[in-house]
């Protein structure tokens, strides 16, 4: 049985003309890329479009990948720029990226339709719900840090920021996430009573 190839080995195969190797790369990173896209798009269809677009762009520019960073870091930088472009194109109010009020609506909606199956909700459900209510930038940094196996420097590289800026943003994002989580849990407790 063939041992699991590294990203770089797969890239070499793709550049040598083996397109199946790219399918392996896509399979390996699709969940994470899609999750990042979801942080921006807030809808599965749009997120799939963004994620697909990212992989196509990455394929086109694969030869120019310098290999000075991890492939995932490079890929996530593509996701970030593509998602930002998508947001601008879609005109999901460019202001909304900085305007938390826009997300209050999403927040209220999700807490409204989830009341009925409160029993089935686990703590991770509330966590994911809280992440959905965060601003895209906060949600992206949290996801990259906890699920992307990326250091602060690598996150900075992907988002085009200094590592120190990422550190500050991560701290604030965690605080906001904690607040949302607490608020959702409190709201749920009230509903149950």
């Amino acid at each position: 049985m063939q041992s699991k190839l590294s990203d770089i080995e797969l890239i070499d195969q793709v550049l040598a003309g083996n397109q199946a190797a790219y399918a392996d790369l896509v399979k390996r990173h699709q969940r994470f890329v899609f999750t990042l896209a979801m942080r921006f798009a807030k809808g599965r269809e749009d997120a799939e479009e963004i994620a697909q677009d990212c992989f196509i762009k990455a394929y086109r520019s694969l030869a120019s990948f310098q290999r000075q960073s991890k492939f995932s870091t490079w890929l996530y930088s593509i996701v970030y720029t593509t998602a930002m472009t998508f947001l601008r194109k879609k005109r999901v109010d460019t202001d909304s990226i900085d305007d938390e009020n826009t997300y209050i609506q999403v927040e209220n909606q999700s807490s409204a339709y989830d009341v009925n199956n409160a029993e089935n909700k686990s703590r991770s459900f509330y966590l994911n719900q809280a992440i959905e209510q965060l601003l895209p930038d906060d949600a992206t940094i949290i996801t990259l840090f906890y699920k992307g196996e990326q250091s602060l420097e690598e996150i900075g590289q992907a988002l085009g920021m200094e590592a120190n800026t990422v550190k500050v943003k991560l701290f604030r994002a965690r605080q906001r996430l904690k607040e949302k989580l607490e608020r959702n849990l409190k709201h749920e407790a009230k509903e149950l009573i």
Binding site: Q19, V26, E48, A51, R60, L127, Y146, F171
Partner: protein
């Protein structure tokens, strides 16, 4: 409080220097406020690690590869034309023109005064084919129309390529 939290997050993330780390360890052991906050953040950190990744549709990989294949299938409009064929055609014209030129130059009468007498050297039976009957107005118009369509097509291809490269960047 924010300061304590920030310090403790740095400690949990391992972003402290060894000196800072030992100072914070001592604080956690001795200061109740630090200890409680540390416990709280540890629980939160563990919880954040359980974030679930979203799953795209089953056909996602297939769709990506198909999109790449479709894109590649469109490219051969410029790439499928073998360069050797173009080179062969160019070579044919270069050789023909050079041949004609050499023939013309070798038949010129360089000894005479004024313009060299080329016509005098042309064989008597040589007859230039009469093509004027084939060149009609509709034919010229058709040719011009084809040229315009070709020019528009090439311009469109150029703009598309420019657009794709802009999107890729």
């Amino acid at each position: 409080m924010n300061n304590i939290e920030e310090t403790l997050w740095n400690y949990i993330d391992g972003n402290c220097t060894p000196d800072e780390q030992s100072v914070i360890s001592t604080l956690i052991a001795s200061d109740e406020a630090y200890r409680l906050k540390y416990q709280e953040l540890l629980i939160l950190n563990k919880e954040f690690e359980t974030i679930e990744l979203e799953e795209p549709s089953m056909a996602f990989t297939y769709n990506v590869i198909e999109a790449i294949r479709t894109e590649q299938a469109q490219v051969p409009l410029k790439a499928a034309i073998n360069k050797r064929i173009i080179l062969g055609i160019a070579l044919f014209f270069v050789i023909s023109l050079t041949g004609f030129l050499i023939y013309a130059l070798s038949n010129m009468d360089w000894s005479g005064q004024g313009m060299p007498d080329l016509a005098a050297k042309v064989p008597v039976n040589f007859k230039v084919p009469d093509v004027s009957s084939h060149i009609s107005k509709p034919l010229v118009e058709g040719f011009m129309f084809f040229d315009v369509v070709l020019a528009l097509f090439l311009f469109d291809t150029y703009l598309r390529r420019k657009n794709i490269s802009r999107q890729a960047n």
